[in-house]
Symmetry: D2
Subunit: 137 residues, 4 copies
């Protein structure tokens, strides 16, 4: 299994009138954590799009245990178990700076050839990256 | 079962560079559809907060089948099966104006007493509203 | 001068922990009001993009007088004085349902040929639309 | 004059279908840059709210010169000229990692006593902080 911890700061804009981080933002935290994980491993999602491959979201789920607040420095732990073929599944654990687990989630993405808008397999270099760093077949 | 169809227009702001509606917006479409359902039934979520009851999100899930686009007029079908006690579960189906099913989802909310920040039961008037309109015990 | 009143509902997502609508949302209300104005006049911004013309924002300003709140039904008055040539300037007045003026603003947009990413003039049909409805040269 | 450079990463969520950062996000970049500037100087906007002082936005303006893109690491330069009394004016310059100036902006905030929702003066500690770091009277 590949794991990567990403720091994300809560912006004022992310709060709602309950005084908590609005729940939709976690979905964006997951996305930015995926971007940061790729930067960490020397690749980039921008490269994937430049090569003509889009990664649309197919499924998300999220469980909320405790609220996050403005200015919190969150740690989003990205967990990747499997080498992607036609799907890429990522799990997430979101902690606050006291180490409390606030939220867990999962996203499943597909691969889409931009030109034809038809599903395709994960690019070889991307599958290799996950395989080389602990992904299971 | 109680159902309610809510029209939601896609804003330019909701798109991303893939040219689709960014997936996090569906979570907000669900939320606004809940608000609209309550207005439709003559009540208001603002009333609930004014009475000191917050409804934090506990769980969300969402499945994406086809993309939505800028300026689309979506129909969000709100489906409520059960009279809420300590949880309120709502299902969603999102259609475009051609009647294609784009997305399905589910949210589970809790009830929280604002003063004590402790869980509580659904307000009687709210449970009664769902019961009177087809909710099952 | 051309004017058009557009109703916009405040979503829960638009609030922040001050309990007001977060100020950045007015910028999106302006944008959606422009979209709605175009629909009202039988045209569409999607058509403009389909014809290869982008309208990037060049300047925005916004003055905040009173807060808006969750579930408010706002009226965004769109005011267009001049027929667009290489710039399109729109003024806005945002009212709540009590008729109180909450916010005033202005946006200036340019026209950009998508293929070359170079500035261009407003499409003829768009300039004609504004001219025919009270725009001044 | 007090200046502070803040790094802000562009998220995928910040893009729109033009392929650029949606213009409303700059308003949030300004806000987060103000938060980061306060952290840099050992204080916090959360402290201000905890002391019962809100800082609502009164005016914003923003000029867009060049687009920003997904994954860009932006530098937001925060410039504060005057010690705040009943208003706090901040200027911004946004650069990409090639040092190109993308955007300039200004925000003016007021001070509001939370309890009474009436305007008040800047807290002494905050005025002192700006004064001690180059703010002019």
């Amino acid at each position: 299994m590949l794991t990567c911890d990403v720091k994300i700061r809560v912006w004022y804009k992310h709060t709602d009138q309950m005084g908590f981080v609005h729940h939709s933002n976690y979905i964006c935290y997951y996305e930015e954590a995926r971007s940061a994980f790729m930067r960490e491993y020397g690749v980039s999602y921008a490269r994937m799009e430049a090569e003509g491959v889009l990664m649309p979201i197919l499924h998300i789920e999220s469980d909320y245990r405790r609220p996050a607040f403005y200015d919190d420095e969150l740690t989003v732990r990205v967990l990747i178990r499997e080498v992607p073929r036609v799907r890429f599944t990522v799990d997430y654990e979101v902690y606050n700076s006291q180490g409390e687990l606030l939220n867990t989630g999962r996203t499943t993405l597909g691969f889409l050839r931009k030109e034809s808008m038809r599903p395709c397999r994960a690019p070889q270099w991307f599958a290799d990256l996950i395989r080389a760093n602990g992904g299971e077949e």
